[in-house]
């Protein structure tokens, strides 16, 4: 049985889990009634709890489902992001930034990230502008987290994505509004523990399913040498880095090196560096009770991030080997679709007439009922299929009588009786293997009652076939949920549901907390000086943020949107805030003007790059197309005169904004600070405490 319906067991388990989380939150809240309690309780918090709390906030469904799905598409090159997550996101952040952030936050009595920047540079503008940037863009990141959870629920329980979105949003909204904002570390630590256990089981199970670590990697390398949908953009296999280069290759293909730049600039550097300037993570350092706690948390945090992201990316890659060689789907074919146009690449624009980017691939589909309820719950692309055995021994097929269209075939050295489907043999573009579909399609009635074993023989991306409305498409976000559903036992699906629920709740509560305080405390409170109403504005901001995130989640499904939305927010924070944040912590010579223009430049350059240059985002927004008649300024179109339309510049359309905006932002910080007057010593003394 693959997809399972939502039963009483699932509902009870989720409710019990929610009750435990709520009770822990209440206990923690009750025991810290005063500031002294708050500090004393903090002193008694085990570093294990603090590290798991930070880790649970850092790692969300975006990392597990979104980036895990990208690893399913593009392979283990994503482990470079795991390295940066550990080395930069934990070691650099905790060892070098944690202590100074905490000290300066306490010296300046800052309680939010924009407030820290604003008070460090004595600038209301910096606090308000930073608050606005966070308020506008954090719903995009929150949507990425929501989509990750919904993809799993929809796949695991066989319900529609929109129903999953409704259920998941209600659970999350209830958690956030009922007190998730209290940020009680014990609830986060419980959630972190569930995530940790779930991922450990997933890792061990996955490696054992493919014959161990070395054998699994070797076989994954072998199947990666087959032709691929992504070969045109530089894919070389799931255990290899993509092809590196710039511009068009020797054959004149301008997309030949796109994948390398997507993996390295957007996925790895955008997220790996941007993590240092995440507002919801920086405030965690201010709530830490001492430097000792930070030192201890490095140990647990490093292991936690390795297990969370390392496992997600490794299992995502290994899922290709499972689907290609190990998965056997048992069930009855209830229907077939001949030459369905499956969308292999789908980007939604604000205006569908602009920037619609769909690449439909003709596929024969078979729809299989695996749980005997008469409805298809598994959909497979028939290209490359081998129906290896008919299970129904009473039908006489395995005896002497062979119905028309059946025969004996040698598969991997084993002689078997199978339905012969040799009347229409077509080569699968993704694997190079032959398809076998026509006989089933033409004689469906004689197959309907047969329990078949079917090997999908496809990559993870092809296996992640979903339908929304009348459109079939391959969905990156469905790779990990499909793998969990197909490869793992039923009980693990429930544990993994809690894992994802925990990952989403801990991250979303901190995101909406950052969003609410940005608009209420940093923008409204600072701009009007009216602190009494800022709490109301904060609450309204949170509700608005949740609604925006849900709307984005509804419309933005498709492509590898989870990873991209996350990378956009992380990259924007990195380019806009990182130079001013790090400069403010360590260098007394950074001036108010330097920080202000650095933040403005980082934000503006990032947004310009997203709107006019970066292909996927510019195409989705459609503004560049409206103005210039082309999706990106550096791709072919009306402006084909150099430098626009130049093949050697076309690679710029896949370079992440952080690669361009962060160096410019840093340069502006240095140059403007050198040209303007150093802050007065009294203020610097209040910042640095000496």
């Amino acid at each position: 049985m693959l997809a399972q319906t939502v039963g009483i067991t699932e509902i009870i388990v989720v409710l019990v889990y929610m009750f435990i989380v709520g009770y822990l939150g209440y206990l923690g809240y009750r025991n810290t009634k005063t500031a002294a309690d708050y500090m004393v309780a903090g002193r008694q918090v085990h570093p294990f709890v603090m590290a798991l709390s930070y880790g649970a906030t850092f790692i969300s469904t975006s990392a597990i489902v979104g980036f895990g799905g990208v690893a399913g598409m593009f392979g283990m090159s994503l482990l470079w992001l795991t390295f940066l997550n550990i080395f930069v996101g934990v070691f650099i952040a905790f060892v070098f930034l944690g202590g100074p952030t905490r000290r300066m936050g306490h010296h300046l009595k800052a309680h939010t990230f924009p407030e820290l920047l604003g008070k460090r540079y004595e600038s209301s503008f910096i606090q308000i502008f930073s608050g606005l940037v966070i308020f506008i863009f954090i719903p995009l990141y929150a949507a990425a987290v929501l989509i990750g959870g919904c993809e799993f629920i929809a796949t695991k329980f066989g319900i529609s994505y929109d129903v999953a979105l409704l259920v998941f949003s209600v659970i999350i909204a209830a958690y956030v509004i009922m007190g998730g904002l209290k940020g009680v570390m014990y609830t986060d630590a419980l959630q972190g523990s569930i995530m940790f256990i779930g991922m450990i089981i997933l890792l061990v199970w996955s490696y054992s399913a493919v014959g161990g670590v070395t054998n699994g990697h070797t076989e994954l390398g072998e199947i990666g040498k087959m032709p691929s949908l992504f070969g045109k953009i530089g894919f070389k296999g799931w255990t290899s880095m993509p092809e590196f280069g710039w511009g068009a290759d020797a054959k004149g293909n301008p997309e030949a090196y796109n994948l390398w730049w997507i993996i390295v600039s957007t996925i790895t550097l955008g997220v790996g560096i941007g993590v240092l300037a995440q507002p919801q993570l920086a405030v965690r350092f201010m709530t830490v009770k001492s430097k000792k706690e930070l030192n201890r948390a490095v140990l647990i945090g490093g292991i936690f991030i390795l297990i969370m992201t390392g496992v997600a990316f490794t299992v995502g890659s290994l899922s290709n080997l499972f689907f290609m060689k190990h998965e056997v789907v048992k069930g009855k074919i209830v229907s077939t679709t001949k030459m369905a146009m499956v969308v292999a690449k789908q980007e939604r624009g604000i205006n569908p007439k602009n920037g619609k980017d769909e690449v439909p691939v003709p596929c024969n589909l078979i729809h299989i009922d695996t749980n005997n309820d008469g409805d298809a719950d598994v959909n497979l692309v028939a290209r490359g299929l081998d129906i290896i055995k008919v299970l129904d021994e009473t039908s006489g097929i395995a005896g002497g009588v062979k119905p028309p269209g059946h025969g004996i075939v040698d598969i991997e050295g084993v002689v078997k009786v199978i339905p012969l489907v040799a009347t229409a043999v077509i080569t699968d573009p993704s694997t190079g293997e032959k398809i076998s579909f026509a006989t089933i399609h033409d004689n469906l009635a004689s197959y309907r009652d047969l329990e078949l074993e079917i090997k999908p023989h496809c990559s993870a991306y092809i296996r992640a076939l979903v339908k929304r409305g009348e459109t079939w498409f391959f969905n990156t976000g469905s790779i990990i949920p499909t793998y969990i559903t197909a490869a793992m036992p039923g009980w693990f699906g429930l544990l993994f549901l809690l894992t994802l629920l925990a990952a989403a709740m801990s991250t979303l509560s901190s995101q909406f907390h950052a969003l609410g305080t940005s608009i209420g405390h940093d923008v409204y409170g600072k701009a009007t000086g009216n602190t009494s109403q800022s709490i109301s504005i904060t609450r309204i901001g949170i509700v608005v943020g949740i609604i925006i995130a849900v709307i984005i989640s509804h419309y933005a499904r498709g492509g590898y949107i989870i990873a991209r939305a996350t990378a956009i927010f992380f990259g924007l924070c990195g380019a806009a805030f990182l130079p001013a944040f790090v400069g403010g912590l360590f260098f007394k010579g950074v001036t108010r003007a330097g920080a202000k223009w650095s933040i403005i430049t980082g934000s503006v350059v990032s947004m310009f790059w997203l709107v006019f240059v970066k292909d996927k985002e510019a195409r989705a927004l459609g503004i560049c197309y409206k103005l210039f008649g082309k999706y990106s300024m550096f791709m072919g179109g009306k402006m084909d005169e150099a430098p626009f339309g130049n093949e050697q510049l076309s690679t710029l359309a896949v370079v992440d904004p952080v690669i361009i905006a962060l160096p410019i932002s840093l340069l502006v910080l240095i140059l403007v600070s050198l040209a303007t007057q150093r802050p007065n010593d009294e203020h610097l003394k209040s910042c640095f405490g000496k």
């Binding site: 810290t32 005063t34 500031a35 002294a36 708050y38 500090m39 002193r43 392979g75 283990m76 090159s77 482990l79 470079w80 795991t82 390295f83 550990i86 080395f87 070691f91 202590g99 009595k109 309680h111 904002l181 209290k182 940020g183 670590v213 070395t214 054998n215 699994g216 990697h217 070797t218 994954l220 390398g221 070389k236 296999g237 255990t239 290899s240 880095m241 709530t287 009770k289 001492s290 430097k291 000792k292 706690e293 930070l294 030192n295 201890r296 948390a297 490095v298 140990l299 647990i300 945090g301 490093g302 292991i303 390795l306 390392g310 609410g516 305080t517 405390h521 709490i535 904060t538 609450r539």
Partner: protein, 50 residues
């Protein structure tokens, strides 16, 4: 290494493990360092109001 032929992916695999070891060693060496001398009232007030 471990069945991965590509040297850059192998390097990433090794660096993931080494950076984790670095975190563990740093945490153990500094387990009792950093001081814990201490007053949060503002933060508590904000939480109460929300």
């Amino acid at each position: 290494m471990l069945g991965i032929e590509d040297k850059y992916v192998s390097a990433a695999y090794v660096l993931c493990l080494l950076s984790t070891v670095l975190c563990v060693v740093y945490g153990l060496i500094n387990w009792n360092r950093g001081g814990d001398e201490i007053v949060a009232a503002d933060e508590k007030k904000i939480e109460e109001e929300m």
